[in-house]
Symmetry: C2
Subunit: 237 residues, 2 copies
């Protein structure tokens, strides 16, 4: 560790090493299939201990960026970035852009749900709808019911990827909205209009009318975006 101190101290060393290696892979400095330096060499390069390097390597392996073979070394994965979609937005989340992605995804999920709906799917949607309609529940419970409604639709799409992506985007947006306007304003919440939109979606899915279900979902989420005061990013298509 003679002298080569290229890392600033206040950050966590593991974070820095992870970031640098990931950048080198993304930028092509380390090309797919290429053999990486050994943990010992990496430690000497960055001026850190092997434990730090191992934690960074562990993360990158978990993300699918590299493949480690005991006794040999680590190799840059054949398709780096092909396993994990990370929403990292260090400078803040672009809520409007994220909403666009959600609208697109959930609209298609609603179409698929209308085509593949089954009785238990419909029952879960109906249960969630009833949960939002009930006047006795707390606000948090209604948010959960709203999430359950959208999750039920996504699950009915019979496509696990849609289900997981819808859940992912919903959670990400809820978290982003929560931090963006923490206590600053009441959530627009479950007004009668929202309930009407939800029921329109449910009715279309129940009737098996894919196009109408997708359209109803698009309307609902577009309105939700507007209710949050977010500008429309896309002149209508």
């Amino acid at each position: 560790m003679a002298g080569s101190e290229i890392l600033a101290r206040p950050v966590r060393l593991t974070d820095e090493v992870t970031r640098i290696i990931a950048e080198r892979i993304a930028s092509g400095v380390l090309s797919p299939g290429q053999q990486m330096p050994s943990e010992k060499e990496l430690g000497e390069t960055f001026g850190v201990s092997r434990a730090v390097v191992r934690e960074a390597i562990s993360r990158l392996k978990h993300d699918g960026l590299i493949e480690v073979r005991q006794g040999v070394r680590a190799f840059v994965s054949a398709n780096p970035g092909g396993q994990v979609f990370r929403l990292e937005a260090p400078g803040g989340v672009d809520l409007a852009a994220l909403f666009d992605l959600r609208i697109c995804t959930e609209a298609r999920a609603a179409e698929l749900a209308a085509a593949h709906r089954r009785s238990d799917d419909l029952r879960r949607m109906a249960d969630a709808l009833a949960g939002m309609k009930s006047p006795v529940l707390e606000s948090d419970d209604k948010v959960s019911a709203d999430a359950a409604f959208h999750a039920a639709i996504a699950a009915a799409s019979a496509n696990g990827y849609f289900a997981r992506l819808v859940e992912f985007l919903g959670e990400a947006l809820r978290a982003a909205i929560g931090t963006a306007r923490r206590n600053s304003a009441r959530l627009p919440g479950m007004s009668a209009l929202v309930q009407t939109e939800h029921e329109a979606i449910f009715a279309a899915i129940e009737r098996g009318e894919a196009a109408q279900a997708g359209q109803a979902m698009t309307v609902h989420l577009s309105n939700a975006r507007d209710r949050l005061g977010l500008a429309e990013k896309t002149p209508a298509g």
Copy 2:
């Protein structure tokens, strides 16, 4: 690929510990905001050293599932799963389902691209088109040119999330297709028909006709799915 790993493989302790803790978070055994056991306690619980626990903790922190505070402990994140979308497919990737998601995403990206296109976006699309048309390039180069064409469209959407998701899904599908039919069959590849489809997409985007661009992209990717022999997941009846 997953089928060829029936051999008894050594279990990495870090993988096991990571999986168990992640499951406990996902299943609610560890609820958001809750304080986790210390590294020492976790190590004693699982019967592993602190180094193994630390690598697992490091991964979970990287995934946003937990937040670690030096001197205190780790806490389950407020929105676990809200940062990383993982394509993990135990039992193999469902290519048809993944294609559905890609079609939906790229179709919308094409619509947005038609609405937001700029001259440099169009130039990159044209360059990629020319690359695929050239008869002198190798097959790999044409695959890269195809990826560049789709990436240029996604970039033109003026929505970074679409750009990254399109890239992510494209890489994941290429990797999955590559492992599914490794050397078993030539990629259907850059036939004249594919070129025609690409040019239809480009023309619609160039003219700024969003609906037509989305439709052309849907047709193109649906055909691509059919050329791979994948059944349509959505019976329209």
